[in-house]
């Protein structure tokens, strides 16, 4: 406990330095902006800014990128409540009750509930990360290569089980992602694999062109093809103060949402949107105001908003302790760390205490900033909502292009991005999910390395994966998760929960 406090104090020392504070604020502002704007999400934004973080110290870079991620959770609710449009996937459920509240003239109360609930959940989530991080790290240090391999396999399985739509297609995309990750020089023999003699490919396919093409550029094309949903802002924000009655009803919902969100955030493949759905389902069954659901129940805003933000914080736990990304945003964080020359994993706490504790402290600082950014400054974000997409997309495209070029100062990356944007477009048309591919792409090379090492140690005996208890447990959980998804009733439940 005492150690935890010392470490946190150290973290706050790092997070409160002028530079880190500035970039945390910048991240929170950018995050809120892209959260408010429908049509651009944290995955595209973070991949867009990855090349720019090159020049920053590692801690500062990660603090800013993290700020974008949880900032987007705050911003997304604004659009959901005022316009009935989810600014972010995770705020889809907020539209259900939040927009009704706005119709009833309680937009201000809904926004305040969302922001305060998010802040509370963010604080709890941050404490959880700080407390469980070092513990899990201790466990992770006893992991052998076989355990790592099985753990990553479990991560990939759960990520595809929880993806939208068909599980088999999602696993197919994961596997294809792993295959894409194998392109480049083989680490152990130096042999070139699938490079077609292109020197730029000997380091592997760049992470940024894949992410930016599939999530940034393809998204622009798809948004332009849909006729722009023109919603007119008719609802006045009104008073931000909650009535006593509203406060009494929102508080337990926030608490429940925080618990649900913290738990679902840790799961690989979980993350913010699943947490919000889970909490909404729970509130509809459990809260006192359940008969008001559908006509603007405050519990339906408070619970999911708390849940998505708690999940946004706790999804850092697998990344910081095991080095395993649990969703597409965390996969980008791995990319950012690797660009900075840091191998994510259990040794990060020891080797990079500034980064580990600084990031955790900055999460809380960032959440506090977001509370200020979102409540008193709400009018500014409402203005931003009025920028039409036709002026927005050229800016996104230009930023992506310059960003991807500046990665290596090579136009090759620009053309790679173009190829992946066409591929991403095709995947969307075929209902193939891009997020599982990205996670597979990041984990692929690590899995190969651990597999080879494990098999070398076991003298070629694959039974090692079942003999080591940790590894066997992981594989068992993965197997059960897959088997459960084959049960039709559960699959239906998942589909309805994840349906947009």
């Amino acid at each position: 406990m005492e150690l935890l406090l010392t470490n946190l104090a150290h973290g706050f020392g790092v997070a409160l330095s002028f530079q880190n504070l500035t970039f945390a604020l910048l991240g929170a502002l950018i995050g809120t902006a892209i959260g408010v704007l429908p049509g651009i999400g944290p995955v595209a934004t973070i991949s867009l800014l990855l090349p720019i973080t090159f020049g920053l110290p590692a801690t500062t870079a990660i603090i800013m990128l993290a700020g974008i991620f949880y900032g987007a959770q705050y911003g997304g609710s604004t659009t959901a409540i005022l316009l009935n449009l989810p600014g972010e996937v995770s705020s889809v459920v907020t539209t259900l009750e939040g927009y009704k509240m706005a119709r009833n003239g309680r937009a201000g109360a809904a926004l305040a509930t969302a922001a305060i609930g998010s802040f509370f959940a963010g604080t709890v989530g941050t404490v959880l990360v700080a407390a469980s991080g070092p513990l899990l790290t201790q466990v992770a240090l006893s992991f052998g290569p076989a355990d790592y391999f099985s753990l990553m396999l479990l991560g990939l399985i759960i990520a595809s089980v929880l993806a939208q739509g068909s599980v088999v297609k999602a696993i197919g995309m994961v596997v294809f992602g792993v295959a894409l990750g194998l392109v480049g020089t083989d680490v152990q023999t130096g042999q070139q694999r699938f490079t077609f003699g292109i020197p730029e490919l000997s380091d592997g396919i760049g992470f940024v062109p894949v992410a930016m093409g599939m999530f940034g550029i393809a998204e622009i094309v798809l948004n332009l093809e849909r006729p722009e949903a023109r919603s007119v802002l008719t609802n006045k924000v009104g008073s931000l103060w909650l009535t006593k009655e509203e406060f009494r009803r929102a508080t337990p919902a926030v608490l429940r949402g925080t618990v649900v969100g913290s738990f679902l955030g840790i799961l690989p493949g979980g993350g913010a949107s699943l947490a919000a759905f889970g909490s909404y389902m729970m509130e509809r069954k459990m809260s006192k105001g359940r008969d008001q659901f559908g006509s603007g129940a405050i519990e339906g805003v408070a619970g999911p908003e708390a849940a998505n933000n708690a999940a946004a914080q706790t999804s850092f736990i697998p990344l910081l302790t095991l080095g395993i990304p649990s969703n597409a945003v965390m996969a980008l964080m791995v990319g950012a760390l690797i660009i900075q020359g840091i191998q994510p994993g259990p040794r990060m706490v020891e080797a990079q205490p500034d980064l580990f504790w600084g990031l955790i402290a900055s999460m809380w600082v960032g959440n506090l900033m977001l509370l200020v950014i979102n409540l008193p400054l709400i009018g500014m974000w409402v203005k931003l909502l009025q920028v039409p997409y036709k002026y927005l997309y050229p800016a996104i495209l230009v930023f992506c292009s310059i960003g991807v070029y500046s990665l290596n100062n090579n136009v090759f990356d620009v053309y790679m991005t173009v190829l992946f944007s066409v591929f991403g477009y095709m995947c969307n048309k075929l209902r193939l999910e891009a997020a599982p591919l990205l996670i597979g792409f990041v984990l692929g090379p690590m899995m190969e390395e651990h597999l080879r090492r494990a098999m070398l140690l076991s003298r070629g005996d694959p039974m090692v994966f079942l003999q080591r208890p940790i590894s066997a447990t992981m594989l068992g959980i993965g197997f059960i998760a897959l088997a459960l998804m084959l049960l039709p009733s559960l699959r239906k439940g998942k589909d309805s929960a994840l349906a947009e």
Binding site: I217, I220, Y405, T417, V418, K429, R452, G460
Partner: protein, 200 residues
């Protein structure tokens, strides 16, 4: 018979890619389970992908689902034409010297030409124009400089949205605003290494 067309194509796609991968993988040493060579992991991954693709494919035949939008004859023509023109342009240019002989300029010109052909029919217009704009940026950047490349990508990408065509003033405003902003962010603040003006 009911067929889930999206899944059918997805399954075919996964199988096709994996088959190509397996074929390319032949040149890599396999090694043994104990000492895996560079070809071992790709072999397993691609066979797994074929298996999954086959499941998706089989399941699609026995289930109903969303239909794929039918391509019009113009769309088919421009799709095939775009690939053909792009490949031809690249093939011709890659052996010429000068500008097109350098780095990836021949590839970029081929892609630009291909995407422009693709963008002719209504259905492919946005996909073609946006990607053509990025290729144009790649082509112009090093030779013609930062500003020329920006003007190219902004103006071309604006053509993807019909409303800009009705009011070209919007394109001008957009271009000026983005030029100033990109100069400030990328050159003034981040100081990326790139030529600003044409290199003659």
């Amino acid at each position: 018979m009911k067929i889930n067309e999206k899944d059918l194509m997805s399954g075919l796609f996964l199988i096709l890619i994996a088959a190509v991968g397996l074929w390319l993988n032949q040149e890599h040493t396999l090694g043994s389970a104990r000492r895996m060579g560079p070809g071992y992991m790709p072999l397993m991954v691609f066979w797994l992908q074929i298996g999954l693709g086959a499941i998706v494919l089989l399941a699609s035949i026995f289930s109903d689902g969303e239909k794929l939008t039918r391509w019009t004859s113009a769309e088919i023509a421009s799709f095939v034409g775009g690939i053909a023109v792009g490949t031809a342009v690249w093939w011709v240019l890659k052996s010429t010297g000068g500008f097109f002989g350098q780095t990836y300029n021949a590839v970029g010109t081929g892609m630009l030409a291909g995407f422009l052909v693709l963008s002719i029919p209504q259905g492919w217009r946005i996909l073609g124009v946006i990607n053509a704009a990025m290729c144009l940026f790649g082509l112009l950047l090093e030779k013609m400089g930062f500003f020329a490349a920006l003007v190219g990508i902004i103006v071309l990408s604006c053509l993807a949205e019909r409303e800009h065509l009705k009011k070209p003033v919007g394109i001008l405003g957009c271009t000026v605003f983005l030029l100033v902003m990109c100069w400030f962010v990328f050159i003034k603040q981040l100081d990326i290494r790139v030529n600003l003006w044409p290199q003659l």
